[in-house]
């Protein structure tokens, strides 16, 4: 990785942490955006805890999406599960095309306000990239390698765990990364149903016509998404240094 890019990322991380830990020190920057002496920095809750809550919700949803999407991907690439491919694709596509706001609207009467409807919406929204990448990863394993694995005497399970999944891992991780990044932004809508998150800051800004609040919520969310994307990419490179594919 180029040095300059690394420095830029470190600087972004430092900026994000500084803002979350000592938001008041950034007040002079935001004051020009406020009117009639409104507070320049969000003061109705702790920004750090809101950001962490949002990150937690996103990670939890991504973990659930990963388990389900990878599981489905494995199922439909087995000879016995191939018939479920069209059905699984449809389900996952619906999860992606159904607007998360609509999912919230449907979920709230069922599970109540708070964290749960947000988790459901993000879970459904995050399935598609992971599922499709898992499919491609498993389907593009070189046939000679699979033939050799069976020919050596691996059982179907051993072949899956020690050959197919390791070879598909770069693509699966890329899917997880996409899913995570999409959902960091999407998660802000959770605040409309009382889930803790940076959406609160944006909504408060909208309600009180405070541009500074809107910008703070948006910027922190955006920075988190960028850093998460880069962090995951770095983690993948580390994990996959062994899995050098040609």
């Amino acid at each position: 990785m180029p040095r300059a890019a690394t420095l830029l990322r470190l600087a972004a991380l430092a900026l994000l942490l500084a803002f979350l830990l000592w938001p008041q020190s950034f007040a002079p920057l935001f004051t020009p955006l406020t009117q009639y002496g409104a507070p320049p920095i969000y003061d109705q809750g702790n920004l750090l805890s809101l950001a962490l809550a949002q990150l937690g919700t996103v990670c939890l949803a991504a973990a659930a999406s990963t388990v389900v999407a990878v599981g489905l991907g494995i199922l439909v690439t087995r000879p016995s599960g191939a018939q479920f491919l069209p059905l699984s694709r449809t389900l996952v596509n619906v999860g992606q095309t159904f607007p998360p706001v609509a999912v919230l609207a449907v979920a709230v009467p069922l599970v109540g306000f708070g964290e749960k409807p947000t988790l459901i919406a993000l879970f459904a929204y995050g399935l598609l990239p992971i599922f499709e990448n898992t499919l491609v990863g498993l389907k593009t394993c070189p046939p000679a390698v699979l033939e050799a694995a069976s020919g050596m005497g691996m059982s179907a399970r051993q072949r899956l765990l020690s050959v197919e999944l390791p070879l598909a891992m770069p693509l699966i991780l890329e899917g997880v990364r996409l899913s995570l990044v999409i959902n960091v932004g999407t998660a802000t809508i959770g605040s409309t149903v009382a889930a803790k998150g940076l959406g609160e800051v944006i909504i408060a800004g909208l309600l009180s016509s405070n541009t500074a609040f809107i910008l703070q919520g948006g910027l922190v969310t955006g920075l988190m998404a960028i850093l998460l994307y880069d962090g995951m990419a770095a983690l993948e490179r580390r994990l996959l240094r062994q899995v050098a594919l040609d």
């Binding site: 000679a144 033939e147 050799a148 050596m152 005497g153 070879l167 050098a244 594919l245 040609d246």
Partner: protein, 310 residues
């Protein structure tokens, strides 16, 4: 010993392998040749049950291959395919250790076997054990593929066009290596190829297949002198049959007592090579010498030509 009895494979209404029967002697090399679509690969893959036969059976050392789960059977049978199928995410040593690990060998025994095989195949363990397959040349990858198949000391080795992807010089070396390894370990080898020269070079018996049927299974010389039908004759090469016949006999076998002032040829050279040497040098006889340089008699042009007719 591998005994194949009335083995057939049918898919819907096409018959890919049609009631094939033959036996491979323990510790010998048999080669199946045929054009593409002749069913030769399917036949091979039915022996380790990568393809399940529709009818008939396979006995290895008297045991029906269906008497145990397929994946357990395969751990006892070496398998080499064209393009190697090496695991790209595993090191050379890990690739070779695949079957020993599946069989639960302890780490020390596995490591010793891996080092032994690497050395045997001319790959320095210090340099190559921790390399990834794609860091190796094609010829080296092929050798690792064979080493992996031999890791758990199988009594039977199946090879599906193992040298198909190699250039001619590396292929000749790989064939020599296989003959040496087979002599050393004494396993039974069944190899599939479409290359007749390879079949004649390696096989003590050659099976010719076409359209799913086994046309003839015989010693290479018999295929040339007594082909079962026109197809076998064409496969074995009508234009080259005399030279092919000569390539099956070594100078040491054909040498007669006597002295010659012609060129010296190794006892291990084939009559085809000796003939070429005589044509080239314009001599009418050659001096046959052993590996240590001792005289082993002579070969006249007339004697060589006499061996090239049925």
């Amino acid at each position: 010993m591998i005994r194949v009895e009335k083995l057939s494979k049918r898919y819907a209404d096409t018959t890919v392998v049609d009631e094939v029967s033959f036996a491979v002697e323990r510790g010998s090399i048999a080669v199946i040749v045929g054009t593409s679509g002749s069913g030769k690969s399917t036949l091979l893959r039915m022996i380790n049950r990568l393809v399940e036969p529709s009818a008939g059976r396979v006995l290895i050392d008297g045991h029906d291959t269906r008497s145990e789960p397929a994946h357990l059977l395969r751990r006892r049978i070496g398998y080499v395919i064209q393009g190697n199928g090496l695991f790209p995410h595993r090191t050379v040593a890990e690739n070779i250790a695949t079957v020993p690990r599946l069989l639960g060998w302890d780490a020390r025994r596995t490591a010793a076997r891996v080092a032994e095989l690497l050395t045997l195949f001319g790959l320095d363990p210090g340099t190559y054990a921790n390399a990834l397959p794609q860091q190796l040349s094609g010829g080296q990858q092929q050798r690792v593929g064979v080493a992996r198949a031999l890791a758990a000391e199988p009594l039977v080795l199946l090879m599906d066009e193992p040298f198909g992807a190699l250039d001619p010089i590396i292929r000749a070396k790989a064939q020599e290596d296989l003959l040496a390894i087979q002599r050393r370990f004494g396993m039974t080898v069944l190899l599939v190829t479409h290359d007749m020269d390879e079949a004649f070079r390696l096989g003590s018996r050659v099976a010719v297949m076409s359209g799913g049927k086994l046309l003839q299974y015989d010693r290479p010389a018999a295929l040339l002198t007594h082909p079962a039908d026109g197809f076998v004759a064409r496969m074995t090469g009508l234009a080259e049959r005399a030279l092919r016949l000569l390539s099956l006999i070594t100078a040491g076998e054909a040498a007669a007592p006597g002295v010659s002032d012609g060129p010296a040829v190794a006892a291990t050279a084939t009559l085809r090579e000796v003939l070429s040497e005589l044509v080239w040098s314009g001599a009418d006889s050659a001096r046959v010498v052993g590996a240590d340089g001792t005289p082993r008699g002579r070969l006249t042009l007339a004697a060589i030509l006499a061996r090239g007719t049925p």
